[in-house]
């Protein structure tokens, strides 16, 4: 399947790059290490006898390889990345610089506490900010990402119910929820029941009330929700949830729309995770790492996971095991994503409360501006102002032969990363655009003009052009069906492949 490296043809700045496994040569290396002192080996007779099969390349080859690969990626640094629900905003480089200070980057998680007081103080400062911004009294920092935070939050809730002798079986999740919500609930051993939306794109309050009973442990809500709308009946939802003895969980993936303006604690939320890689702009890094601290109400504090930072007689200390026996345990190795804590705090201090409020205000303004610029051409399933992202359905594409997917691929040829498509599942052919606050008006005007041109082309009836898109990207559309039917998940030496084929 792979062309030999000799057959590869580059085009201008577009390079074809083989796998490292197709470039290596025996004996080469990109790292000079000292000679190994002669010792008697203590490997228990288990020294490796056969080669692993790793290719050898020199440093310049490696640097070129990964530089070329990087050039095949679309990134925030390259252009507008309106991927709804993912918050692709500018990633400040100051944050990267600070995370690499030896005092943060080169400390071991199990050093004596006396040697890491600055790290513990940083964790405490970040927690203090997160408490103030959420209006909630406690933060557990250790979850590694949003989904991990959901699971940790639900484990905390389950521990609290069990401790009260009130084991409950079910978690309610709206139809519009991220897939992680039901998946996290299942990992806590809960059954998942869906709650429908009303005609205004919000949770149907009547249906929620009807679904609540004394077997419901929690209601998981994303607010602003995945349709980009604020749940305007949230206080009534909270009252109903609490009346049923359940906890109100909030998926904080969209906290960036309201940070500095609204405190979830004031809305009756009992537990919520914060995606530091979204709201506080620690970079996404092509899929992670993230960080998903959870905020907790007073009633849940005793059940929070270890570890956490506390005041001790000689300064700050880490509580790594639970003396009271109520904490449900540990969710991750060590103490959480410290590198992300540094970045998030640098982001928060740079913005300050005024900057955070301005950021959420601009995020919402930008989304409404894009909405207003496209509303006459595209179809909005729900009326009224949106929050940080605007949701379209595919009604405007009816009878054009062009699908939401086609439209997304056409955006690529125009120099954009596509919007989120086919999510949330509650509207047909969803297209969810999140411009974020770090786009200028000129940039938004260009996006609007481009999308208008694309849609007008679609309405003019040239579906074939759309089905072919993208044509200007490093690759065109892939045969994902063939890839899934016969998955090739790793490189194998050509000889081995031939043998397998025989």
């Amino acid at each position: 399947m792979s062309a030999g490296t000799g057959a590869i043809r580059h085009r201008g700045l577009r390079f074809e790059e083989p796998l490292i496994f197709e470039q290596g040569a025996e004996g080469k290396t990109g790292v000079d290490l000292p000679d190994v002192p002669k010792i008697k080996d203590r490997l228990g007779g288990l020294a490796r006898k056969t080669p692993i099969g790793l290719p050898g390349l020199s440093e310049p080859q490696i640097v070129r390889h990964f530089t070329r690969l990087s050039q095949k990626n679309y990134a925030i640094d390259t252009g507008l990345y309106p991927l709804g629900s993912c918050t692709m905003k500018h990633n400040p480089r100051l944050n990267e610089k600070l995370a690499r200070l030896p005092g943060f980057g080169d400390i071991h998680p199990l050093q004596p506490e006396s040697t890491v007081q600055g790290a513990l103080a940083l964790m405490e400062r970040l927690s203090d900010w997160l408490k103030a911004l959420t209006g909630m009294p406690a933060i557990a920092l250790s979850p590694a990402a949003g989904a991990h935070g959901e699971w940790t939050g639900l484990m905390t809730i389950r521990s609290a119910h069990e401790a009260a002798g009130d084991a409950r079986k079910r978690v309610l999740v709206p139809d519009s929820a991220h897939g992680t919500n039901p998946a996290s609930a299942a990992m806590c051993g809960y059954e998942v029941a869906a709650v429908p939306l009303n005609a205004r794109g919000r949770v149907d309050l009547g249906a929620l009330k009807a679904a609540l009973d004394d077997d419901v442990a929690a209601f998981m809500l994303t607010n602003p929700n995945t349709c980009g709308l604020f749940e305007d009946e949230i206080l009534d939802q909270a009252e109903a949830v609490h009346e049923a003895g359940a906890y109100f969980y909030c998926d904080g993936a969209n906290f960036n729309a309201i940070v500095g303006r609204v405190r979830p604690g004031d809305l009756g939320i009992d537990c919520m995770h914060l995606n530091l890689h979204k709201t506080f702009s620690t970079p996404h890094g092509g899929g992670g790492p993230g960080s998903g601290p959870i905020a907790l109400c007073e009633a849940l504090v005793p059940f929070a996971p270890v570890p956490y930072v506390a005041e001790g007689p000689d300064g700050l200390r880490l509580v790594e095991s639970d003396a009271s026996g109520t904490a449900f345990g540990r969710v991750k190795g060590f103490h959480g994503q410290m590198g992300m804590f540094v970045r998030a705090l640098a982001y928060i201090l740079s913005h300050g409360i005024d900057g955070l409020r301005q950021a959420s205000s601009d995020a919402v303004l930008n989304a409404n501006y894009v909405s207003a610029g496209l509303a006459d051409l595209m179809s909005l399933p729900y009326e009224g102002p949106c929050m940080h992202e605007v949701l379209f359905d595919d009604a405007f594409l009816k009878d054009t032969g062009v699908t939401t997917l086609d439209l997304a691929k056409a955006m690529i040829d125009e120099g954009y990363h596509p919007a989120t498509i086919y999510f949330p599942l509650v509207v047909h052919g969803a297209l969810l655009l999140e411009p974020t606050e770090t786009e200028s008006k000129e940039s938004l005007d260009h996006l609007i003009a481009t999308l208008r041109r694309i849609v007008e082309r679609a309405l003019a009836g040239k579906p074939d052009e759309f089905h072919a898109a993208p044509v200007d990207a490093p690759r065109r559309r892939f045969d994902e069906t063939a890839a899934a039917r016969r998955p090739v998940l790793r490189w194998r030496p050509p000889a081995a492949e031939d043998r397998a084929a025989e």
């Binding site: 086919y422 069906t481 899934a484 039917r485």
Partner: protein
Amino acid sequence: MAELRYSEEHEWVRVEGDIAVIGISDYAQDQLGDVVFVELPEPGRAVAKGEEAAVVESVKAASEVYAPVSGEVVEVNEPLADDPGLVNREPTAGGWFMKVRMADPGEVEALLDEAAYDSFVSGL
């Protein structure tokens, strides 16, 4: 060939003696798109009507296949492992999923006939 009966979950059944041959409807395969994988039950497994018995996957979706009748799985369609596209090409013939020895052949009577299923689907 015996007539097909359908469930509202889009499974079909063809009765061959006390055996029910089970698959998914042409409408279901069309909705799913190109099938890339079918997870079949172990022969010998007892399934109850309405119970999840198999899973069918396309690139972007996975869907449970519920047993339209109760009984014991006696055979599964092995060629689907290598050629899941059979489900798309011949949904009601070569793309069958499993054969179940029925515990209560009367259950078939409760399923939709072809005309009833067609009108059910056109209402979706």
